[in-house]
């Protein structure tokens, strides 16, 4: 294994949310708002009516496309509102489970039934790109893969949700990984962990010593951002380059998050659908950073309250890691399946500033893990020359944010590339240089 070149060494700030190694549980919130667009390509139709009684884990929406996965209620109570793109449930705080949730005994080797079980449990990859797991497994089965990589790198600053999940549930993760390996038909499975979590590797290996799962092993990788990006991870472990996330199957690799492996175990062994996940609440503006089991659809404000509120006003609140997450505009925003963290950041940490002219220092080239030319791509996109941007392989960008982090001129490289990749309609305005200058 060769450590990947470039990337960044970032101060990780993980200690803040590691003061307690327990994953705390929230009481059920008064309202949960489950959004229907939990994964790309989801076309969902509600299958409950307003006023209907639901339990925890009741299916409330199902997909019409083969790629979409159904949604489940994360609280018991009454369906309060079925809105445009969301279902709001008023909790009765009884937390009674749906009667259909019971352990089942589908072996992972029975691929078709197992994959259908995962689909019915609503499992998507619990990472930045939440693609439906059953779809990935079917493709992996069809194309044939050799390695399942379970991604426990968590290379972004502040995030500790996967770390604590591995510390608290190593056996479940090992078993879930073995199930994934069986279902995908891969020869081996590797749980990749960064070197700042060596105790996790030790724990997984010692548990595996008792479990005797032969083809699953934990592997230590150097601590470097973005080690946890799927393509970078696959390249470090197998030495093969993938052109896009879909291309990973072609090189024979399936990359899923550890949280996904855990929920696969829960779905297969306990029949529990995916209605909650671990979320890190952290950042210098939060009084008591911690990790929480959060029901999908809980408003962000509840999480902040569980962390004892704000110590001081944050400049921005982010769902996800600081380099790839999205800033939210309201504390009512619900947690979705891909939300790994809620971070409240002060201005002295974000170091955002007014954009200045590019001085062509070339630092963006030196940190790009995909060896792209961010400077040239940005210039091409701003001149609306998408053909040239395509020649410089804009499609290979993983949007890890290294270039925009290092840029001394604070050029919003990632948003520019994102907008260009999403095939902009003519009216989408790409931020031009010196827009914000006082003229």
């Amino acid at each position: 294994m060769k450590p990947f070149k470039r990337g960044l060494k970032l101060p990780d700030f993980k200690y803040a949310s590691l003061s307690s190694l327990k994953i705390h549980r929230l009481p059920p919130p008064r309202f949960v708002t489950v959004r229907l667009d939990q994964h790309p390509g989801a076309v969902l139709r509600p299958c409950v009516r307003e006023g209907e009684l639901v339990g925890v884990g009741t299916q409330i929406a199902h997909g019409t496309e083969p790629i979409s996965v159904p949604l489940h209620s994360s609280a018991s109570g009454r369906v309060h509102e079925i809105g445009h793109g969301f279902i709001r449930i008023e909790s009765d705080e009884a937390d009674s489970r749906d009667s259909s949730i019971r352990p089942n005994d589908v072996p992972a080797s029975d691929t078709e039934r197992f994959v259908e079980l995962l689909r019915q449990a609503g499992i998507v990859d619990l990472a930045r790109n939440p693609s439906p797991l059953h779809w990935q497994l079917l493709q992996a089965r069809a194309r044939g893969i050799h390695t399942v990589i379970v991604n426990g790198c968590e290379s972004e600053p502040f995030l500790t949700c996967d770390h604590l999940l591995m510390l608290n549930h190593p056996v479940e993760i090992l078993k879930g990984t073995e199930m994934l390996r069986n279902a995908s038909g891969a020869r081996q499975a590797i749980i990749a962990v960064e070197a700042n979590k060596l105790e996790v590797v030790e724990l997984l290996n010692s548990k595996n010593y008792a479990l005797k799962i032969k083809m699953v092993k934990a592997q230590t990788l150097p601590t470097r951002y973005p080690q946890g990006a799927p393509r970078t991870l696959a390249r470090t472990i197998t030495g093969l380059w993938a052109g896009s996330d879909e291309d990973l199957i072609r090189i024979g690799v399936l990359v899923v998050n550890v949280a996904t492996a855990f929920s696969v175990y829960e779905a297969a062994a306990l029949g529990k659908p995916l209605y909650e996940r671990v979320v890190t609440v952290s950042g210098p503006c939060v009084l008591e950073p911690k990790n929480l089991w959060v029901r999908i659809g809980t408003p962000v404000g509840d999480l902040i309250r569980a962390a004892k509120g704000f110590m001081r006003p944050p400049e921005r609140i982010i769902l996800g890691g600081p380099l790839t997450g999205d800033a939210i505009e309201s504390l009512e925003e619900p947690v979705v399946k891909k939300t790994q963290a809620v971070l409240a950041l002060p201005p002295e940490l974000t170091h955002s500033g007014r954009e200045e002219p590019c001085i062509r220092c070339g630092w963006c080239l030196q940190v790009c893990p995909e060896s792209l030319f961010p400077e040239t791509i940005v210039r091409a996109v701003r001149k609306e020359n998408l053909e040239l941007a395509g020649q410089y392989e804009i499609e290979r960008c993983t949007e890890c944010g290294c270039c925009a982090y290092i840029c001394p001129s604070k050029i919003p490289i990632v948003s520019i590339i994102q907008k260009a990749k999403n095939k902009p309609a003519p009216n989408v305005s790409i931020p031009q240089p010196l827009d914000a200058l006082p003229v």
Partner: protein, 276 residues
């Protein structure tokens, strides 16, 4: 007591963490280092130490302001001027001037610098280093006036300033290190005698540490930087053997500036196995 009121949240583009450096900090810092290195000439140059940078900085600022107002139609161009690029260019221009230089040469040098910067599209867009280009023009017209004064800046101060920039990582280490190494090897080979004197030559050291490392006019890729530096160093040694010290550095660097787009065509590291 926790903070209770609702925070004001607005949309922000990602990422939400940035490095703490900024382009204007780097430009201000480099200008300050250059100014300090220049002030080390005080014992030899006397009052000219203050006269030259003052005239070049004020005239450069004035011309830049005039360009922004009259040509670029910005009424109050504080934004473009506050990033110290004018001061950096003025400091670089100062370093190339002999102590007895008349004021009108400084003013016309400043005008040419602004033209060579702005006609190509402003900071970061210029192909040729504006100060070197304006020196080349000045040297063509007023060569005899420039040659009258004895040009001897303090080499130790230049070295100190350059090493400070290297330690701060404001300049890429490949360019000065490889440029000086190849210039030294070139001198040793061309003269067939072992000598360190090139590392004490003010013009070569100044060119390698402050002019060749200008980010806008040097390649962005690592391989490009290596080729750029090696070629520039060797050509400096070659030109210097049959020409004047300072002029050879100026013309070699201008020539190499022209090669930058060519050098950037070669990728730093093409992803192995992935060429679709």
């Amino acid at each position: 007591m926790p903070f209770r009121s609702e925070p004001k949240l607005v949309f922000h583009a990602k990422p939400h963490r940035h490095a703490s450096h900024s382009a204007s900090n780097i430009l201000w810092g480099t200008s300050a280092v250059l100014l300090l290195a220049w002030l080390a000439n005080g014992t030899r140059y006397g009052w000219d130490t203050l006269r030259i940078p003052l005239i070049s900085a004020t005239s450069l600022l004035g011309f830049e302001w005039g360009w922004q107002v009259c040509v670029a139609n910005r009424l109050m161009p504080f934004g473009t001027i506050s990033n110290a690029s004018c001061f950096l260019l003025a400091a670089l221009l100062t370093f190339l001037m002999p102590p007895t230089v008349p004021w009108w040469i400084l003013v016309s040098g400043a005008l040419l610098t602004v033209l060579f910067l702005e006609l190509f599209g402003g900071l970061g867009q210029n192909i040729f280093h504006p100060v070197l280009a304006s020196y080349a023009v000045l040297h063509h017209f007023f060569g005899s006036t420039l040659a009258n004064g004895l040009w001897t800046p303090n080499v130790i101060a230049i070295w100190a300033g350059g090493i400070f920039l290297l330690l701060k990582r404001w300049i890429a280490w490949e360019i000065p290190v490889l440029c000086l190494a190849s210039a030294w090897i070139g001198t040793v080979l061309l003269n067939a005698s072992f000598t360190w004197e090139i590392l004490a030559s003010g013009s070569i050291v100044l060119g390698a540490l402050f002019f060749a490392t200008d980010p806008a006019t040097s390649p962005m890729t690592k391989n490009g930087k290596v080729v750029f530096a090696l070629l520039a160093g060797f050509l400096m040694a070659l030109f210097r053997k049959w020409g004047h010290d300072l002029e050879s550095v100026v013309y070699v660097l201008l020539m190499m500036n022209g090669f930058v787009p060519l050098l950037e065509r070669y990728r730093a590291s093409a992803p192995e196995g992935h060429r679709s």
